[in-house]
């Protein structure tokens, strides 16, 4: 039986991992910032953000600023812990593989 912990399936997806990596580096970011940086389509990004929100990995705040709709995303404490755990497991795996 393997000693390796299984990688969090919620983070082990290209777009969700990209989003969490971006959000861990900033305080909060708008939907369009995430879309531009990941190069994802709005629909796909929206679906993946919803999954991260349901897991309480991110907070999403929808608001209006000067009559413009604005969707702000922010990583939660649980999201940071999940990300750190994911990176730790990833490193363990890669270290043994070398």
């Amino acid at each position: 039986m393997s000693d390796f912990k299984e990688l969090d399936p919620l983070l082990h997806s290209q777009l969700r991992l990209a989003v969490i990596s971006l959000l861990v580096s900033v305080k909060e970011a708008e939907f369009t910032f995430l879309r531009d940086k990941t190069g994802a389509t709005a629909g796909n990004l929206s679906a993946q953000l919803q999954k991260l929100k349901e897991a309480n990995y991110i907070d999403i705040v929808k608001q209006f600023k000067d009559n413009y709709p604005q969707t702000m995303c922010k990583i939660t404490k649980k999201g940071v812990e999940a990300f750190e755990e994911y990176v730790r497991n990833l490193r363990e795996y890669l270290d043994v593989k070398k």
Binding site: H12, L17, L22, S25, K27, A29, F33, D66
Partner: protein
């Protein structure tokens, strides 16, 4: 971005790439350094020329400079407040630098008031204190935005301050030239380089 199964090393590469991309927006446009630098530089040179041709009340240059600076700071705060709600991203570095920037201007204001009330402005030593403060702000900003040229600017300003403190009597009115040189090397050159890099990056 396509959805696909990631290998462990691809995951690590993706994390690194995204963290780097998130930091791409933490670039200084250089405009603040350029505006502030030219104002300070011109005020120093103008004051020097006014002393040279023996114009009375030459210190009025700094009063005008102060009024223009306060108006620009007020305008900048207003613009940030107006656009703040629509900014695409808020970074921890950006917020910290803004707060240190505010602390810089409050400290500067205290120093300027102190210069006049204590009379230290009559000997020219006050420019040394100002250079110390400029150097402090440049060094913090350079470290936050990983901008090496500005770090050299900080050292030049601190060196200029020491020159003024040690040789202020010998320097006399030339203190203004030392001040102008430090501003040109510390603010203007890094400011124009930062602006060129910023525009170049935005074109890509």
């Amino acid at each position: 971005m396509e959805e696909k199964n990631l290998t462990q090393s691809e995951s690590l590469q993706l994390i690194e790439k995204m963290i780097t991309r998130a930091r791409e927006d933490e670039k200084d446009s250089g405009s603040g350094w350029i505006i502030w630098g030219w104002l300070l530089f011109l005020a120093s040179i103008l004051h020097y020329l006014m002393i040279l041709i023996d114009i009375r009340k030459s210190q009025l240059v700094w009063v005008i400079f102060g009024v223009i600076s306060l108006l620009l700071v007020a305008f900048s705060i207003f613009r940030k407040w107006k656009n703040g709600g629509r900014s695409k991203v808020r970074t921890y570095t950006g917020e910290l630098v803004n707060k240190i920037g505010l602390a810089f201007f409050v400290s500067l204001l205290c120093l300027v008031v102190g210069n006049f009330t204590t009379g230290v402005n009559k000997t020219g030593e006050n420019f040394g204190y100002l250079l110390v403060l400029y150097g402090f702000w440049m060094y913090i900003h350079a470290a936050a935005f990983r901008f090496q040229l500005l770090k050299y600017g900080a050292f030049i300003n601190w060196a200029g301050a020491l020159v003024i403190f040690i040789w202020h009597e010998e320097l006399g009115k030339n203190i203004l030239l030392v001040h102008a040189a430090c501003v040109a090397l510390g603010y203007l050159i890094p400011g124009h380089v930062a602006q060129r890099n910023y525009l170049h990056q935005n074109k890509q």
